[in-house]
């Protein structure tokens, strides 16, 4: 089975836009979080697609390696992010991001 790279990239773009919209539109912090994950994974998908396109070349591995990095970083980020959400919930009893505006100048 051979799917053209263009399609995969398009899918990646769609996923990314969904993620962006999710971040901008939703108020629930967990949903925002999931949207961010979606954006990350869309980027991962694009990387994989490029790596596949360059396949026999040695440089193709770089895409894979980067993806693994991103997954590892995302995992760490999830840990920190969820901890923050829990902390916010404890003080505000809500995970509505509109409630959290103490950085207002």
């Amino acid at each position: 089975m051979n799917i053209a790279t263009d399609y995969i990239l398009a899918l990646s773009g769609v996923l990314f836009v969904i993620g962006v919209l999710g971040v901008l539109v939703r108020r629930n912090a967990i949903v925002i979080f999931m949207s961010i994950e979606l954006m990350l994974n869309s980027a991962n998908l694009a990387l994989i697609a490029f790596a596949r396109a360059m396949a026999p070349a040695a440089e193709a591995l770089r895409g894979h390696v980067l993806v693994f990095f991103v997954i590892a970083v995302a995992a760490a980020e999830v840990a920190v992010g969820l901890a923050l959400i829990v902390a916010i919930f404890r003080t505000k009893h809500s995970i509505d991001v509109d409630q959290v505006s103490s950085l207002q100048g």
Partner: protein, 694 residues
């Protein structure tokens, strides 16, 4: 090795250092063990230490009799820097051995006397613990005096010179809590030391000049140089000798530095006898005699020496006439007699000077010790009265030294009277006592050299006989003028035996240098340039006649009709203001006080208080420097820092605040808004890459 072999070999000279070591050993023993030894042992140790020194001096005398040229005995190196090389070494020659014999001999006798005297004195003064201290100081004095006379170079002589000054200071102030206002004795000691220091200053400068000219401080080198190059260097030698003379006037209490000696009588009587009459004060004479080679070249200095000596002899003799303190009369007499000796060495009669120095040591020590015996007798009488409950002082402080409180002691203190009389006659120059021969030799030499000196000395000799006659008559004749004098007992043999021995010396001292025999002249010839002075019967007759006349006048004034109790001195009526002048020592102390002491104190106060503290410390440093700095920084702070620097800083701050005031509305705190701006930013960057590059 037999004794004569030892003499032949001259090896006895090697024992010379012991003459210093024995007294040092004695003082160390007494200092360390004195408290445990008890008075008797302390006295015996101290006296025998000096006695052993006397034995050493005799050994040196024997050694010199076979080796009259003498020798130097090196002990150790002292200061060696570049050209300067000063060893510790002793000079043993006829001149120094004369001094050694005289000093250790008289010292030994006075030490013995002091055992008895101080035994009583420490009890009268109320601190028996100081008995040991006295003998430590006394031995120290003998040791330093020996350093002085045995010195082989100027610097070592200076060590002894200042060392005896220190002992003098310590012993004058021995009863440091007594005297006028409780501090009089201490002040007298200080005065002695400082006046002597002025003389020492002269000695120091002389040494610098000598070193500059000769490059050595050894006597031998310096005298050799003076013989060889003296005539080309008359100016330098004159300067040297004048500064040395300043030193001598300090130590030997001559004009202008004599003022300390009368006050020095504050010390216990053995001290007055030993240090301030017989030995230390003659150091100046000895030093000038020692430096004969230099003085021979410098005629001006020699003349000045003679003139100062003769003037002092007369001046001090007049003051002695007006004194009432038995020891002060003797003190001024000492100054006067030292003037005789100085005049002698000034006119080139070193032998006559040394001769008088030795005989004077005998009879003046005798007089002082007898005076001490008198004083102690009076104190005994005084204390005896206190014990029986009478009130002899009448409420006033009783002065046992005041001759107005004495009188009629002839019958109470027989031995003291006779030895005192012998001393007084010897001092007055009555034939055939010691003083007659030595004083006549001086007068004959002076007559030979200078008529002015001769006249001054002759008049001084007249006064000498007069004040001694006055003193004898006031103290021993007439009726007792106080209760204490009535009950004065004679002293124990430990005190009277040395008196008798000294009296023998005062009688027979003349044989040292009788006319026609010239024993001392021949003896000193090995060290000094001497000339034989022929006996001058005119001079001798004249001076004896004058002395007898003076004694006659004294009898006329004081003896014919003895002074009554509380009555004024008859001389006061006869002489009027002149007597007041004599009594007040011609106001020399007051003059020095006015000219030197008070200006120096005022200057020191002004320097310390006004210049150093108020001007320099407070005004300049605290006001000018510190306040200028403080006010300068305050100005920088107020005017410059606050307005200019702070203005700029605050302006920047205000600007920032204003700008940020606008910008803060961008910051809503909503994550969404930030994310949106993020997105816009990304889109802008992307559109730049996509469209901008084309």
């Amino acid at each position: 090795m037999s004794f004569s072999e030892v003499l032949q070999g001259g090896s006895l000279f090697a024992y010379a250092p012991l003459i210093i070591a024995f007294p040092l050993l004695g003082l160390l023993i007494n200092m360390i063990f004195g408290r445990r030894l008890g008075e008797r042992a302390v006295g015996i140790i101290a006296s025998s230490a000096v006695g052993l020194s006397f034995v050493i001096a005799i050994l040196q005398f024997f050694a010199l009799s076979t080796h009259p040229e003498g020798t130097s005995v090196p002990i150790a190196d002292w200061i060696t820097i570049g050209q300067l090389a000063v060893p510790w070494s002793l000079k043993v020659d006829t001149l120094s051995v004369t001094m050694m014999l005289m000093v250790t001999g008289v010292s030994a006798l006075i030490h013995v006397y002091a055992i008895g005297y101080m035994h009583e004195d420490v009890r009268f003064q109320g601190d028996p613990g100081r008995f040991t201290r006295f003998f430590v100081f006394f031995n120290l004095f003998v040791a330093t005096m020996m350093v002085l006379v045995t010195a082989d170079n100027f610097l070592m002589m200076f060590v002894g010179w200042e060392g005896v000054g220190l002992c003098s200071y310590l012993l004058i102030g021995f009863w440091f809590e007594k005297g006028e206002d409780g501090i009089g004795n201490a002040i007298a000691g200080k005065k002695a030391f400082i006046t002597n220091r002025i003389g020492d200053f002269g000695f120091l400068i002389a040494m610098f000049l000598i070193f500059g000219a000769v490059g050595s401080l050894q006597f031998a080198d310096v005298f050799h140089w003076a013989h060889e190059h003296g005539l080309e260097n008359v100016d330098v030698i004159t300067a040297i000798t004048l500064f040395l003379l300043l030193g001598a006037t300090g130590k030997s209490a001559q004009i202008p530095l004599f003022v300390w000696l009368p006050d020095a009588m504050a010390g216990p009587t053995p001290v007055s006898a030993l240090i301030h009459a017989a030995t230390m004060v003659t150091a100046g004479i000895y030093m000038i005699a020692r430096n004969q080679a230099l003085y021979d070249v410098a005629g001006l200095s020699s003349n000045l020496v003679a003139l100062i000596g003769a003037a002092t002899a007369l001046f001090a003799a007049t003051i002695a006439v007006g004194q009432f303190d038995i020891k002060r009369v003797l003190a001024y007499s000492t100054i006067s007699q030292l003037g005789f000796m100085l005049a002698a060495v000034g006119v080139g009669a070193q032998v006559a000077g040394m001769f008088h120095l030795v005989t004077h040591a005998f009879f003046k020590a005798l007089l002082f010790l007898s005076a001490g015996s008198v004083i102690q007798g009076i104190e005994h009488g005084h204390h005896h009265l206190e014990h029986v409950g009478a009130n002899p002082g009448g409420g006033e402080a009783f002065d046992p030294n005041d001759m107005r409180n004495m009188g009629g002691l002839r019958s109470k203190m027989k031995i003291t009277f006779w030895v005192y009389l012998i001393g007084a006659l010897a001092l007055s120059g009555i034939f055939p006592l010691a003083g007659f021969w030595s004083k006549d030799e001086i007068l004959a030499d002076a007559n030979h050299e200078s008529i002015v000196i001769f006249l001054l000395l002759t008049v001084a000799a007249f006064f000498t006989a007069f004040y001694m006659g006055r003193q004898i008559l006031m103290v021993f004749f007439g009726q007792p003028r106080s209760e204490a004098a009535k009950h004065a007992p004679e002293n124990p043999p430990v005190m009277t035996v040395p008196l008798i021995l000294l009296a023998v010396g005062a009688i027979l001292g003349g044989v040292l240098n009788l006319p026609g025999m010239h024993t001392l002249t021949d003896w000193l010839e090995h060290t000094l340039h001497v000339h034989v002075t022929e006996f001058n019967p005119v001079v001798a007759g004249l001076s004896t006649l004058l002395a007898l006349l003076a004694i006659g006048i004294a009898w006329f004034v004081y003896g014919r009709q003895p002074m009554g109790k509380g009555s004024p001195d008859p001389l006061r009526r006869m002489l009027g203001p002149i007597f007041v002048g004599m009594e007040n020592k011609w106001w020399v102390d007051e003059l020095y006080q006015f000219l030197i002491v008070r200006p120096y104190i005022a200057l020191a106060d002004v320097l310390a208080d006004v210049i150093d503290w108020r001007f320099w410390h407070d005004w300049f440093h605290d006001t000018v420097l510190a306040r200028t700095f403080r006010e300068g920084t305050r100005w920088l702070n107020d005017a410059f820092d606050l307005r200019v620097i702070d203005g700029i800083a605050n302006g920047l701050g205000n600007l920032t605040q204003a700008i940020s005031g606008r910008m803060r509305f961008l910051q809503t705190g909503y994550v969404r808004n930030y994310a949106l701006s993020f997105l816009v930013g990304v889109l802008l960057v992307l559109s730049y890459f996509i469209f901008g590059s084309s």
